[in-house]
Point group: C2
Chain length 113, copies 2
Amino acid sequence: MITCTTVLNVNEGSEEPFEKLLGELVANVLANEPGTPLFQFVRSLTVPRRYLVVEQYVDEEALARHSATEYLKVFVPAMLPLLAADPELHSYVPVPAGDPTRKTTDNQDRGLT
Amino acid sequence: MITCTTVLNVNEGSEEPFEKLLGELVANVLANEPGTPLFQFVRSLTVPRRYLVVEQYVDEEALARHSATEYLKVFVPAMLPLLAADPELHSYVPVPAGDPTRKTTDNQDRGLT
């Protein structure tokens, strides 16, 4: 499982179009990417206009499939002008001790590994 | 659903004890906190010794219950000396457009809202 996080800081006044764009992306991902068990964006409780996208891909192939989609190619150039700073992207891999009590199958059922 | 992320940068040479400590915390959370559908830690693919903990709590009460646990009170003072910098903590709330196609119950089944 590959976990990606993207922090997006949005320009003042661009929140609504930004949330609409990202909502459409989430809808596309959920409808088209079975290998993406988690794709969610949330808004900071403390920092105004700071959003976080949390993504999980079952493997490299699922991530590559996501990256190659037409809807992502449309989304990125439409979203970038709404940002106040460059996106902060990070990719992560599981740590064996990260979920020690969970049987692998149990994790897979819940899309955690 | 409340989403929390914590970025932890670990001292060189402290990775193993750190991963052991965090693995025990994950095991405790999964065994004792039904209101915490997601509690996972992962390691950065690009930044050495950078770890991310992604947590989701169904509500404020579940987060308060987590914060009050004995095992968390034991974990924090044991973990802090292993860090190279202060933890970077952020809390987030869902955005209505964040998961537009998912029926609420479907989200709850998958622990996403």
